[in-house]
């Protein structure tokens, strides 16, 4: 029987299978950041152990950094201490750090691919659930807890039970105005916020093949939002072209050797999946979430479900709780609703293509006067590209300021927060209660739908603004 791409990579990384238990899985690349690493560093020190393979670790500061005045000392003392702790730990243990002010600094899931660190066939972990992003390159990438960060420090391995594998096939062409973010929001709305728990998800089909690497990253990024351990897309010419020439990409003869290996990374025609789902790309509309988990999504022209569409009493209670939090009524439509904030950023949508999409909509126009904005590039490199392509001038002319790189209002750890009770049209990945600040009401959308809201101050069907 044939193997899935997931099986091929997994099997190559199993050091040992513990009887009646998990596998000891070897990790090729470990990405760390300031928030989920300090306790792992102190843990390893308490054991009197050393980092086993420090040169397979790359660190950055992203979650807890300001997005303005990064050249100044961090004002929040707790944040400053956490970022300083990372600097100290990396120095002490010989870990490469791209900290604030470094040209490679940025959101960990933006810089990994950007620098060519992320490559097909690898196992990649990070103490962050959106590590699934890197699966877009045909790697097994998943988020881990801090105890597991310590395991990788100690032995370059984690203990994992092999998940089941699901394949989601997306065939056909997308409507004009529909992008990869809409694909993944559509899938999560279809299968729910827990629909892929226990699975690793492979995305395949002509609609996936047609996507750029950055668009594929957006899809794999949100795999965790349906509970999946990770997402994976088999590498192809688009993948190789993206990686080639990046700072950490293989060079010369080594490149040829790697390429030969990478071309073996696909699911065999007779590979068996534990579950397969087929989706027609043409059916996907621009999507928006209305509730407090990413599974509560609908077409931007759709209506919030009605009470009688839910039978289970606990579910009904939860649905009511979500609508009360969001200030919405069952059965209402969202189109035309006024929004107070737009956030464009996060490891889901903060790459150069996202900024190009937004710029294409706002070019020559003014933002709506009452909309407050947080526009945050994913990395220093993205910020540099924005300037190089002159996109910054389009934003400035529209009355929009561009911030400095970081996770920002995606999780509201720094001062970039959405005020209580206000709506935020957001290109990020989570609409949980309080995620963007206590009481903030998040609605997840694509960069295009966010751009439309920048101009109108309302929930808008981007398709009506395109030719």
């Amino acid at each position: 029987m044939g193997k899935t791409i997931f099986d091929k990579i997994w099997d190559k990384h199993v050091v040992k299978i513990i009887e009646g238990g998990p596998s000891v899985l070897y990790i090729d690349k470990h990405l760390i950041h300031e928030v989920t690493s300090p306790q792992a560093f102190s843990g390893i020190e308490k054991r009197g152990a050393k980092l086993f393979r420090p040169n397979q670790i790359v660190a950055t500061a992203d979650h807890n950094v300001p997005t303005m005045n990064q050249h100044l000392p961090i004002a929040d003392q707790l944040s400053k201490f956490q970022v300083d702790t990372l600097i100290e730990n990396c120095k002490k243990h010989g870990v490469e750090l791209y900290g604030l002010g470094h040209p490679n600094q940025g959101i960990v899931h933006v810089i990994g691919p950007e620098l060519g660190i992320t490559q097909p066939g690898m196992t990649i972990v990070c103490g962050d659930s959106h590590t699934s992003t890197h699966g877009a390159f045909g790697s097994i990438a998943f988020g881990i807890g801090t105890s597991e960060v310590e395991m990788v420090f100690a032995a370059q391995c984690v203990m994992q039970t092999k998940p089941k594998v699901m394949r989601i096939n997306i065939e056909g062409s997308l409507q004009n105005g529909v992008v990869s973010k809409d694909i993944i929001l559509y899938i999560i709305a279809k299968i729910s916020a827990s629909g892929a728990t226990g699975y690793f998800v492979e995305y395949e089909g002509s609609a996936i093949r047609a996507l750029s690497m950055e668009a594929r990253m957006t899809i794999c990024n949100m795999s965790i939002e349906m509970g999946a351990r990770g997402g994976i897309i088999a590498p192809d010419e688009t993948t190789y072209a993206y990686i080639k020439g990046r700072p950490f990409a293989p060079q010369g003869q080594h490149w040829e050797k790697k390429l030969t290996q990478w071309k073996e990374l696909y699911s065999d025609a007779d590979a068996k999946f534990d579950l397969e789902i087929n989706i027609n790309a043409a059916e996907i509309d621009p999507m928006i979430t209305y509730g407090t988990n990413p599974g509560m999504g609908l077409s931007v022209t759709g209506k919030v479900p009605t009470m009688d569409s839910i039978s289970d009493p606990t579910e009904k209670q939860n649905f009511e709780k979500a609508l009360a939090y969001m200030g919405l009524e069952a059965g209402q439509s969202l189109l035309g609703m006024t929004v107070q904030n737009v956030f464009i950023g996060s490891c889901t949508n903060s790459r150069i293509e996202d900024f190009r999409l937004v710029a294409s909509i706002i070019k020559g126009k003014q933002k709506n006067a009452s909309v407050k904005t947080l526009i945050v590039p994913g990395s220093q490199e993205v910020a540099k590209q924005i300037k190089a392509e002159g996109l910054d001038k389009i934003f400035t002319a529209a009355g929009i300021e561009i911030r400095q790189a970081g996770c920002s209002a995606c999780l509201g750890m720094n001062e970039d927060k959405i005020p209580a009770g206000e709506y935020c049209i957001s290109t990020s990945n989570r609409n949980f209660e309080g995620r963007q600040g206590a009481g903030a009401r998040t609605m997840l959308v694509s960069p295009l739908t966010a751009a439309a809201a920048l101009l109108t101050g309302k929930i808008t069907d981007i398709r009506t603004m395109l030719n």
Binding site: K16, I18, Q82, A154, A155, Q156, T197, N318, M413, F432
Partner: protein, 195 residues
Amino acid sequence: MQSLQKIKSRFIPLRIENVDTDQIIPARFLKATTKEGFGKNLFRDWRYENDDESKPKADFVLNQKQFSGEILVAAKNFGCGSSREHAAWSIQDYGFKVVVSSFFADIFKNNALNNGVLPVTVSDAFLQAIFAEGADATLSIDLEKQTITIDRTGASESFEINAYKKTCMLNGYDDIDYLLSMKEEIEQFELNHNK
């Protein structure tokens, strides 16, 4: 890691589905560099009005005096979202030793196990039976036998846990000790892997 064999305790019923780790411990509390003291901020924004400890929300179960115990019982898909292990630390620091649900998110389940907090997955029907019990009811969990029992009715169900993790929990062993003992094997593996 703390070991766990058996526990008999009252429980706190949290009838909310899809409890994400942002609710368990909001991001603003992740600035710490140690594992201690997260319990006081467990479910912070569900517990207090406007982040004010002098204004507990009467409708939230942790504030209802009739409920107590070392077992948290929650509706399905508990611990989804962010991988922050701070969620497991806050549950443990608050005093819970066991979390019962009909469905756990993967990363949370691992994080809990790695901190000596036992996640017990029960059927939907059994979960509803627990929720139907009064505040004085107790649950008994026997990890060796892998059973959970509602003491008043004697209703019992068995739960899954892999043999390795069970041994770790029963004895308070952790994965890092195990991996450290495997170093030579891992070095051997690397010789082939990096070819």
